[in-house]
């Protein structure tokens, strides 16, 4: 049987070097600023359709990203901008896809919810809640079939954890000992429905227990805790012990999508989270406690703002896809 620890996974002090902390801070800040800008461009009508922002959840992908190595695959739902940036996809390519331009990762044919990178082993960007869990299990299956020690990281929300295929996937992954890390990003609300109203299981970290899948419940607002849990899960998977489940307790500051007035929760709840649990501020405080100079934060801020500004400029100036793109990529020419 796998081990399930239901106690919150918190570190005692930093397990990260100053360089790694700076990297993590930069990764998280890039996501935060990128998403703020995306929200702004949406407001200006430059981004259309559905757009789901990652603000508040940055520590989850950043902490896991610190433990990924070349060849590791990742896949997620439609709240995917953070995952892509951490996978190493360019802010330009992601932002240009958001604006539906030829320079986007899908040449404007995917949009916010559907971006992929063969090069960075990022497999989307999926709009059907829970579908990425079975697909991600297949990525892990491919790792096993090819005999590599690569790991597949499969992100899904606590809302998706009500889908049947999630449990079909747990069964398959456990049966075949697939190197798959399932990451439940529990941000408490599946669109407007709180976890309490959607799940009879009150501790999602135990949802894979019947299949003997090892799991951890993690403070997903604390990058140290995320890092530590990810490290354990990675080692577990790479050594052939089969899948691992991480429940990340996290929080999204913005609505489910841009058109969500978020009336299902108190403004005070959001404010409280931002004030006391913000993942970026938490890391910054820890870095300051560890003697990292105040000035580097300004430097990182300046650098990140420049990267985002460059992405925005690119996303606004590169052309829309040529009309002939309508008929490309429907089938691979045999």
């Amino acid at each position: 049987m796998g081990e399930t620890t239901s106690a919150s996974y918190r570190s005692n002090g930093p397990a990260l070097s100053p360089e790694t902390m700076k990297q993590a801070y930069k990764d998280m800040l890039l996501i935060r600023r990128f998403e703020e800008k995306a929200g702004q461009l949406y407001g200006m009508g430059l981004i259309g359709g559905f757009c789901h922002l990652y603000i508040g959840q940055e520590a989850v992908v950043a902490g896991i990203g610190l433990n990924m190595k070349q060849g590791d695959k990742s896949i997620t739902s439609y709240r995917d901008h953070g995952q892509m940036l951490v996978a190493g996809m360019t802010p330009r390519g992601v932002m240009a896809e958001l604006t539906g331009r030829a320079g986007g990762y899908s040449r404007g044919k995917g949009g916010s919810m559907h971006m992929f990178s063969r090069e960075k082993e990022f497999y989307g960007g999926h709009g059907i809640v829970g579908a990425q869990v079975a697909l991600g299990t297949g990525l892990a299956f491919a790792n096993m079939y090819r005999g590599t020690d690569e790991v597949s990281i499969v992100y899904f929300g606590e809302g998706a954890s009500a889908q049947g295929q999630v449990y079909e996937s747990f069964n398959l992954a456990a049966l075949h000992k697939l190197p798959c890390i399932y990451v439940i990003e529990n941000n408490r609300y599946g669109m407007g429905t709180s976890i309490e109203r959607a799940s009879a299981s009150k501790d999602l970290s135990r949802n894979a227990e019947p299949w003997g899948i090892a799991s951890r419940k993690v403070d997903g607002m604390d990058i140290f805790a995320v890092h530590q849990a990810a490290q354990e899960a990675m080692e577990h998977c790479r050594s052939g012990k089969g899948p691992f489940l991480l429940e990340m307790e996290t929080y999204r500051y913005r609505g489910h999508s841009m058109s969500d007035p978020a009336k299902y929760r108190d403004r005070a709840e959001v404010e409280e989270m931002r004030r006391t649990r913000d993942p970026i501020e938490t890391l910054k405080a820890e870095m300051l406690r560890n003697g990292i100079e105040e000035s580097i934060f300004k430097d990182i801020e300046t650098e990140v703002k420049a990267v985002v500004a460059d992405a925005v400029e690119f996303a606004q100036t590169c052309p829309e896809p040529d009309p002939s793109e309508l008929w490309t990529d429907i089938l691979v020419e045999a």
């Binding site: 359709g49 603000i55 697909l135 297949g138 079939y145």
Partner: protein, 455 residues
């Protein structure tokens, strides 16, 4: 420098809104994320957050203002340290916060972009010597040949390995290829189909066997949304070389839930290819082509045909092109278009019609997507009459498509309205007599043709 806060679009369809309330006063320090206003949209009252840090300078559009267009400047934001008085100098024509020169383009009338013509495969070559084998053997031989040829090919499904196949299609494959490549799955179509599609996105080439295509309904989201659309959604980066196969349509007295034709369901989907073999040669040649194809291919087999013998080329390299129909019988008076088990029904009907001096041409479609319209239209222009024959239901079926193609592309050649012969529009019953009454038989085809001749 002072910047403008614009009326935001807060939903995919919002074009204007009402400023319900301003929550900040000039002089207030605001941080990115602070709520500065409430706006009523077509859907709800939404809170508007500041996207930059600064000092709230001035309200340009007072609260209560209705029908404020998206992108209208509604307030001024000053940089930290900037004097509030600076806001007074900012007019509505000042640069907006982002993208000063960006105009939101109004789309002009789109030019009509025609679908490119589908390149037709070359005529079938002569494969020489044949041997009589069953469709079952043909399917197994096809999989064995491709498993031998390519290490990335593997077979997965319920009872495919140790049980040797629920319908014995995979007999012997476990022994030859081992459990790494012939993999038993639990009864979990949704999960294992998703898993197979995920593996295919990395470049592996799974063959997913559904015990019957009825169970593919459990997995149809992955077949359509995950397998068929990902290439397009990824701008051509991620193809999905996968085969979904299994017996389709009615078997014999297995009731409504196990007796359905999914031809029109899958043929409807851009991004999929769909083949429906009739003979052993069709089965072997098309399945090999499906496994080699870099796209998702649905192979609709037929349980009743599994045990039937047909001549099949013995050449080791035998393969058939996807997208090319076959004329099984030549004729000049009427074109009968069929696929899968209905090819046999159409041939029987043609034999009966011949007794009355009507020479029917029988087209075995072999592929349902892309449809070989060239062969159909060429035949119709010769015969001036067309009858489609399918086991599935009539509404929005394959026959509806074929008749439309004939009308669109050969209207002036037609001497009679195109006709459809289909299974009856009802769930298939169990009772032997009722089941027989519900499925197309040669007499129905003969009757449809006679009607076209005015009988």
């Amino acid at each position: 420098m002072a910047s403008l806060i614009l009326m935001p679009a807060l939903s995919p369809t919002m074009t204007e809104g009402t400023i319900a309330r301003w929550l900040r006063q000039p002089g207030d320090v605001v941080k990115s994320g602070d709520v500065i206003a409430e706006i009523e949209t077509d859907k709800a009252t939404m809170e508007v957050e500041a996207v930059d840090d600064g000092v709230f300078g001035k309200v340009l559009v007072p609260e209560g203002s209705e029908s404020v267009a998206v992108n209208t400047p509604i307030a001024v934001l000053l940089e930290d340290g900037e004097d509030v008085a600076a806001a007074e100098n900012v007019t509505r024509s000042a640069d907006p916060a982002v993208g000063a020169s960006v105009a939101v383009e109004t789309p002009s009338a789109p030019a009509i972009v025609e679908a490119p013509a589908i390149k037709q495969a070359d005529d079938e070559k002569d494969w020489g010597e044949t041997k009589n084998i069953t469709v079952r053997e043909a399917l197994r031989d096809a999989m064995a040949a491709e498993l031998r040829r390519d290490e990335d090919v593997f077979l997965m499904g319920e009872e495919v390995a140790q049980y040797q196949g629920a319908y014995k299609i995979s007999q012997g494959l476990l022994d030859e290829f081992g459990e790494k490549r012939v993999i038993d799955m639990p009864i979990t179509e949704h999960g294992f189909t998703g898993m197979a599609v995920g593996a295919a996105l990395t470049g592996l080439k799974p063959i997913v066997e559904f015990m019957t295509m009825n169970f593919s309904l459990q997995a149809i989201d992955h077949i359509i949304n995950s397998a068929a659309k990902t290439l397009y959604m990824s701008g051509g980066q991620m193809g999905c070389p996968i085969v979904f196969r299994g017996p389709n349509g009615a078997a014999a007295r297995v009731g409504a839930q196990h007796s359905q034709c999914f031809a029109s369901w899958y043929a409807h989907i851009p991004g999929l290819k769909v083949v429906a073999p009739w003979s052993a040669a069709d089965a072997k040649g098309l399945l090999r082509a499906a496994i080699r194809d870099p796209n998702p291919v649905v192979v609709l087999e037929n349980e009743i045909l599994y045990g039937q013998k047909f001549p099949c080329p013995t050449d080791e390299d035998f393969i058939l092109p996807i997208g090319k129909a076959k004329i099984e019988r030549e004729g000049k008076d009427v074109t009968l278009v069929a696929f899968s088990i209905m090819v046999g029904v159409a041939l029987d009907a043609a034999a009966k019609l011949a007794e009355d001096g009507i020479e029917a041409e029988v087209i075995n479609l072999r592929t349902l997507r892309p449809l070989d319209t060239e062969t159909i239209i060429k035949s119709v222009k010769k015969t001036s009459r067309i009858v489609s024959v399918e086991e599935g239901w009539p509404v929005a079926g394959i026959g509806a498509e074929i008749c439309t193609v004939a009308v669109e592309q050969a209207f002036d050649w037609l001497d009679a309205p195109p006709a459809r012969v289909c299974g009856l529009d009802l769930p298939l019953p169990y009772a032997s007599n009722l089941e027989k009454l519900a499925l197309p038989k040669p007499d129905w085809v003969v009757e449809a043709v006679r009607k076209q001749f005015g009988d």
